[in-house]
């Protein structure tokens, strides 16, 4: 052994050089403890305050649907068990760190191997995991149950909004749906009904997630994915695209609106009602002309006809990358627009709908948007310059990658008069 090398560790001892050094370390230690206690108090208070939020519409811990309840029933016990294990482990670690901290004592004799302990520490976590796995697998299978479907809605994601189309079917309501319905932003369903989402995407991978009704499901282009949507009671349930999908991913929201059976039937009847043109010589009539000139290339309004009486068929596939734009036939029956990012209702009117009790919610929702309640500010800003309001790839000089197609709504250079006209026209789309 080289004389320069220290003796073996277990023989090594360390001692403080002087009382002065000890007192300095003691002061530092006390300061550190005080600081650590302060930080711990701040973090603890923050966690406590965060748990007190009342307005949390996307809280997964407030299930309002059968499947969400199944997830909650699984997640809570697992969370409690994992939390208990975590507390025990952290507690033991903290105790060991404190109890055996370096105080200059000799390092104890090092041993290797403790078969009984090692086997126990292998079997115990395995048993815990098996205990978690059994209900987890059962829940996963239960969540994928679709045989009892009562209503089907096709859901298609694109940058950065959701489209919902209701195929012709016998389900959803007595008498079924007799003509296809296309809407966006808000998916309306009958409450306490097993609705099946048949989802896909037009451009990139999106993920449909209404936390209070079910887990999330990716929507992949070229594939079809199923997801159960069921709400126990009438109400409005907020969601958010849960897969990063580009510039305005954070602005790709959606809501599921659950109505009573009668309310849903009324909603369907209204969606399938014939188109009514605005009265002649009104601002809305001018808005119709402006809509045809500026908006109808992308946005479909069912029943809208040109001067020769031919139906106007929007061709968003020739204008936008996703090939689709929201159908605006019944825009003012919804509460939101532009990917459900902004409200069509002013705050007080919005609160009347969102905060309504389940027994009056349906009636409030079916009132739609009236002139008094219209959130003109955001809608005007949107019409004035939509790319300035919502980040989109809508710069006409940078469309090489998409062969000249926009992603999102472009700037239309509308005059204030045109915006007035369009507002008047859209307000009648109920």
């Amino acid at each position: 052994m080289s004389p320069d090398i220290e003796p073996a560790n277990h023989d090594r001892t360390r001692r403080r050089d002087s009382d002065t050094a000890t007192s300095v370390e003691s002061v530092i230690s006390n300061l550190s403890r005080a600081r650590a206690a302060k930080y711990a108090a701040i973090v603890g208070a923050g966690a406590l305050v965060a748990g007190c939020a009342e307005n949390a519409p996307q809280d997964t811990f407030q299930p309002d649907g059968t499947n969400a309840q199944k997830i909650d029933d699984l997640a809570r016990p697992v969370f409690y068990i994992a939390g208990l294990v975590g507390v025990i482990v952290l507690g033991v670690v903290a105790w060991v760190v404190f109890r055996y901290r370096d105080r200059g004592q000799p390092i104890p004799e090092q041993t290797h191997g403790k078969p009984a302990l090692e086997i126990a520490l292998t079997i115990l976590p395995a048993l815990i995991l098996i205990g978690v796995a059994i209900p987890t697998v059962g829940t996963i299978m239960a969540l994928n149950e679709t045989d009892d479907t009562e209503c089907v809605v096709n859901v298609t994601g694109q940058q950065w909004w959701w489209e919902f189309d209701y195929p012709v079917q016998d389900g959803c309501m007595p008498g079924g749906i007799t003509e296809p319905i296309v809407t966006s932003g808000q998916m309306v369903i009958p409450a306490d009904t097993n609705v099946l989402i048949r989802g896909t995407s037009r451009d990139v991978i999106h993920s449909f997630w209404i936390p209070r009704l079910n887990g999330k499901r990716d929507m992949v282009p070229g594939r079809v994915h199923n997801l159960r949507m069921q709400a126990n009671e009438p109400g409005i349930y907020a969601g958010q695209c849960a897969e990063f999908c580009g510039l305005s991913h954070a602005n790709m929201r959606m809501e599921v609106v659950a109505l009573t059976d009668d309310g849903f039937a009324e909603w369907v009847e209204n969606q399938l009602a014939d188109y009514t043109s605005p009265e002649e010589d009104t601002l809305a009539a001018e808005g119709e002309a402006s809509f045809i000139a500026n908006c109808s290339r992308c946005h479909q309004v069912d029943g809208l006809e040109d001067d020769t009486g031919n139906p106007i068929v929007a061709r968003p596939d020739l204008q936008v990358y996703s090939g689709a734009a929201p159908n605006l036939t019944n825009l003012m029956t919804r509460n939101t627009f532009a990917g459900a990012t902004w409200d069509l209702l002013r705050d007080e009117c919005r609160d009347d709908v969102w905060d309504a009790d389940s027994d009056v919610f349906t009636d409030r929702y079916l009132e739609g948007v009236s002139g008094d309640c219209l959130n003109e500010v955001d809608l005007r800003e949107w019409l004035r310059n939509s790319p300035a309001k919502k980040p989109m790839y809508a710069d006409p000089e940078n469309l090489e990658e998409t062969d000249g197609l926009y992603r999102g709504m472009p700037y239309l250079a509308l005059s204030e008069d045109q915006i007035d006209q369009l507002l008047a026209y859209l307000l009648e789309r109920k």
Binding site: P167, R198, G323
Partner: protein
């Protein structure tokens, strides 16, 4: 005071810098400017390195340093790098008069051997101790030699193995891969269970294995890949019929293909209808259209179908994958008629717009076979309200799946 070596490096750097500026300003060639700039940067780096190390600061009239400096003490060992450097120069010369890729290979050899030579020469001036000098060299060079060498070796092995896989038939590739995996597993098992095996023996086995793979790759690479057939697609036949109707009719008259549009024909078209079932890759999460033995079409979707569905609803402007399954007794294709489309036909320098049926279809599928069809409808069904679709049931408008030769096989496609 600057030594001769320092002056040379400084001068070379200045000349290279001037050349870069003059060439860059006077010529349009970006590549030449980049090359000269790279040379300038390299020379400046060498100059700076030279100043930092100071190894060349030995002066003929300075007796003491001459006696004590490390540079005056070493005895250079033999080196293979000059040979490699010369080889690289020859390869560059050969490449200049033959093929450009050879120049690149020569340049790579020049740079690699030149760098190794430089490092070795620098390391041998570190001390009078040859072992220490070798360690100095290794410390600098091995950090690059090992990863780069391993990458190149792995690349050669993978490339050679891929040649073998492409040479074998599709079936035999599976067998070969399984056998190779089993051999690797067995060798690994033996090595793990016999820790007393000599390193040389393990290395020998590995070397033999690598040589075998590389040799097999070289032989099969020279022999070429297996015959991978390429087929015409149905859309090409469809476009040909619409865009060049006269040539298409001539081809039909000569018996090269049937006279009808491929999507409306129950007959086989050359090449387009071979081995189509083998191309189905996406087998789940899609719609399915089934041709039943009774001659009717039915559809299926992942999960339950909507009760009372009158047709298959697909989103507008969306690439929807549909698997066609032929459960009938005869070869059949599935076609979709999406109304009309406007097509521009160029003839004699002039462009003419004509209306043509908008159709897509699978190739002819054998009984029990399947093929994927990707459907995308830009227009909604209601755009054709009141306009009869000739491939749908009598008097029906909208979009229709149909099977040429089976009149009863129709299925409405609804695009909302």
């Amino acid at each position: 005071m600057f030594t001769t070596g320092s002056k040379f490096l400084i001068g070379a750097s200045v000349v290279a810098l001037l050349a870069t500026v003059i060439y860059g300003v006077g010529q349009d060639g970006v590549l030449g400017t980049v090359g000269l700039a790279s040379a300038t940067i390299g020379l400046i780096c060498l100059t700076v390195l030279n100043f930092i190390l100071g190894d060349s600061n030995v002066f003929a009239d300075d007796e003491a340093p001459v006696e004590t400096t490390a540079a005056a003490q070493y005895a250079p060992t033999g080196s293979v790098w000059p040979l490699g450097f010369a080889f690289g120069a020859v390869v560059v010369a050969v490449g200049l008069v033959s093929y450009q890729p050879i120049v690149v290979i020569g340049l790579v050899a020049l740079i690699a051997t030149g760098a190794e030579w430089t490092v070795q020469a620098w390391a041998e001036r570190a001390s009078r101790d040859g072992v220490h000098n070798a360690a100095v060299r290794s410390r600098l060079s091995n950090s690059l030699e090992y990863p780069i060498g391993a990458t190149i070796a792995a690349g050669i092995i993978i490339y050679a193995f891929s040649r073998v896989m492409l040479w074998l038939s599709k079936t035999n590739t599976v067998v070969a891969f399984a056998v190779l995996a089993a051999v690797v597993l067995a060798v690994g098992f033996i090595i793990a269970n016999r820790p007393s095996l000599k390193t040389g023996a393990i290395g020998g086995v590995m070397t033999v294995g690598v040589i075998a793979v590389v040799a097999a790759g070289a032989v099969t690479g020279v022999d070429g890949e297996r015959d991978i057939p390429e087929f015409e697609t149905t859309s090409i036949w469809q476009e040909e019929a619409i865009l060049h109707p006269e040539e298409y009719a001539e081809g039909a008259a000569e018996g090269k293909h049937p006279a009808e549009l491929i999507c409306e024909s129950p007959e086989e078209f050359p090449e387009a209808d071979e081995k189509a079932s083998e191309t189905v890759a996406n087998k789940s999460g899609t719609y399915q259209v089934l041709l039943n033995e009774s001659g009717t079409l039915d559809f299926d979707v992942p999960g339950p179908k909507e009760a009372g569905a009158v047709g298959m609803v697909i989103p507008r402007s969306n690439a929807t994958n549909v698997i066609f399954r032929n459960n009938s007794d005869e070869d059949r294709r599935l076609s979709l008629d999406l109304g009309t489309q406007t097509v521009e036909i160029e003839e004699g320098g002039e462009t003419e717009e004509v209306e043509a049926r908008h159709q897509i279809c699978t190739t002819l599928i054998e009984p029990g076979g399947a093929q994927l069809l990707t459907v995308k409808a830009g227009e909604p069904s209601f755009a054709y309200d009141g306009e009869e679709n000739p491939n749908g049931p009598d008097g029906a408008d909208g979009f229709w799946f149909f099977v040429p030769g089976v009149e009863s096989a129709t299925l409405e496609v609804i695009v909302p």
